[in-house]
């Protein structure tokens, strides 16, 4: 096969991966780099479980060709916090009971992070949060608590930003 070297930075770490031209970023993240927090489902950018951050912005990794992200920086759910140092969004999701089966949660948290990072210190309304996560489906339908969690995290991030 016509394999090519792909250089990408995933969660701050540089990787060199030998890829085939038709591999998606999702395939590379899961199968080659082992970031299993990024989930696979619809493969058509409808459901959002494959969401990762590409240079800080949420995108669907299931329909992005890996060869198109040469030299880019990717953040997966593994890259935004760890059990000892949770991201405010992760803390809020736990506190608000926003996780049911959990399959959509990596995508949900990264979608929310991308949105909150666009306007540092913003406190979005519930409608704005709903709109921001519209591309990420929770088939447990736990949206109310997910919105609670994003609003809680946004408040805390805004407060800590104001103190600094």
């Amino acid at each position: 096969m016509n394999r090519k070297i792909l250089n990408i930075v995933v969660n701050g770490e540089s990787h060199q991966v030998l890829i085939e031209p038709h591999w998606t970023l999702l395939q590379v993240l899961r199968n080659e780099i082992g970031m299993m927090g990024t989930k696979e489902n619809c493969l058509e950018a409808e459901c959002g479980v494959c969401t990762v951050l590409l240079d800080g912005k949420a995108i669907n990794s299931c329909i992005l060709l890996a060869g198109q992200v040469e030299g880019c920086s990717i953040t997966t759910i593994e890259g935004i916090g760890d059990p000892e140092h949770l991201h405010p969004l992760q803390e809020a999701f736990i506190e608000c009971g926003a996780v049911q089966c959990g399959y959509c949660i990596p995508g949900m948290i990264l979608t929310a992070k991308s949105f909150l990072d666009e306007n540092p210190g913003c406190r979005p309304s519930r409608d704005e949060i709903r709109e921001a996560i519209a591309g990420t489906l929770c088939r447990c339908t736990g949206y109310r608590k997910i919105i609670d969690a994003v609003a809680t995290a946004a408040d805390r991030i805004a407060l800590s930003g104001a103190k600094q």
Binding site: N2, K4, P21, H22, T24, L43, E44, A45, E46, G48, T51, L54, K57, A58, I59, N60, I63, L64, L65, G67, Q68, E70, T111, S114, F115, E118, E131, A132, I133, A134, G135, T136
Partner: protein, 291 residues
């Protein structure tokens, strides 16, 4: 499914590659349509030419009397750009109903135009702004009005080796406003059942319509401007009665299909109502600007 992915550094290099590998080559930008089409086996290119990282094609440029949008501009950039919160709000409103944030962060407006889907949400606003496209190909550059560019469902007058590089439109005169309305079966992540863009300018000292441009998506083989409805409104008092008549004329000019999303009759009904509402929204916005 097997293809080579090429990553040219310049538009010229991209066009050269497309010529070399025609007819099995295809350009890809954000990939939100192309990759799905490949996965569904609707297309099977042997060579994909990645134009997403071509330099200088993602900028939104404002001059004294016009705007130029790079063809690689992302929907989210349109949505968050301060220039489109005033009388060009039609662009923000259309950009913000395409897919979810993940798609809007990477999908390009040029891709939406060249796909030429009858339901493309970003085409009616640009038609209502009378936009034109800058195109580069093997023979150099050319410009074409968007209304002449899309010729049918999925069909444009772009040759397979040409690239749309930017989209240009003039700023609006004083006492103008725009609006975009979309109807789907749900509020997000939806393909339009009908969408309508309107651009209204009032006469200087009266509330009569000086200029009207309407564009309707998903109600014909291609998004269209209902010229009779537009012509009818010129010189008429802006208000419910004339807007309703314009809606009726626009519905008459539409030729919708029945499909899984809606019947033709329902779509035609929507066109009438949505044209009236879009014009009413424009009128409200003009009044708010002048307060």
């Amino acid at each position: 499914m097997s293809f080579d992915l090429h990553r040219p550094a310049t538009v010229t290099e991209a066009v050269d590659l497309a010529q070399r590998f025609a007819p099995t080559a295809r350009y890809v930008a954000g990939g939100t349509d192309t990759v799905i089409q490949i996965n569904r086996k609707k297309i099977d290119p042997a060579h994909l030419i990645d134009v997403a990282c071509l330099p200088g094609m993602s900028e939104i440029t404002e001059t004294a009397d016009a705007f130029a949008l790079g063809a690689l501009t992302k929907y989210r950039s349109i949505e968050t750009h301060p220039a489109f919160r005033g009388n060009l709000r039609v662009l923000l409103e259309a950009a913000s109903v395409v897919g979810g944030h993940q798609v809007r962060n990477i999908a390009t407006i040029g891709g939406n135009i060249v796909n030429a889907s009858p339901a493309a949400d970003f085409v009616p606003p640009l038609l209502a702004l009378d936009a034109s496209l800058d195109i580069t190909g093997p023979k150099g550059r050319r410009s074409v009005a968007l209304r002449d560019f899309i010729v049918g469902p999925g069909r444009t007058n772009l040759s397979p080796v040409e690239i749309v590089t930017s989209i240009r439109f003039a700023k609006l005169p004083a006492r103008s406003a725009t609006a975009f309305l979309k109807e789907g079966r749900r509020r997000a992540m939806e393909i339009s059942v009908v969408c309508v863009a309107a651009c209204l300018t009032l006469e200087a000292s009266t509330s009569r319509c000086a200029s009207v441009r309407l564009a309707i998506g998903a109600a014909s083989p291609k998004a269209f401007r209902p010229q009779q409805a537009e012509g009818f409104l010129i010189g008429k008092p802006a208000g419910k009665e004339s807007f309703a008549e314009a809606g009726r004329l626009a519905a008459e000019a539409s030729s919708p299909i029945s499909d899984v999303r809606a019947s033709a009759g329902y779509r035609r009904g929507l066109v009438a109502v949505m044209v009236e509402r879009a014009l009413t929204t424009c009128l409200q916005r003009i009044r708010e600007q002048n307060q």
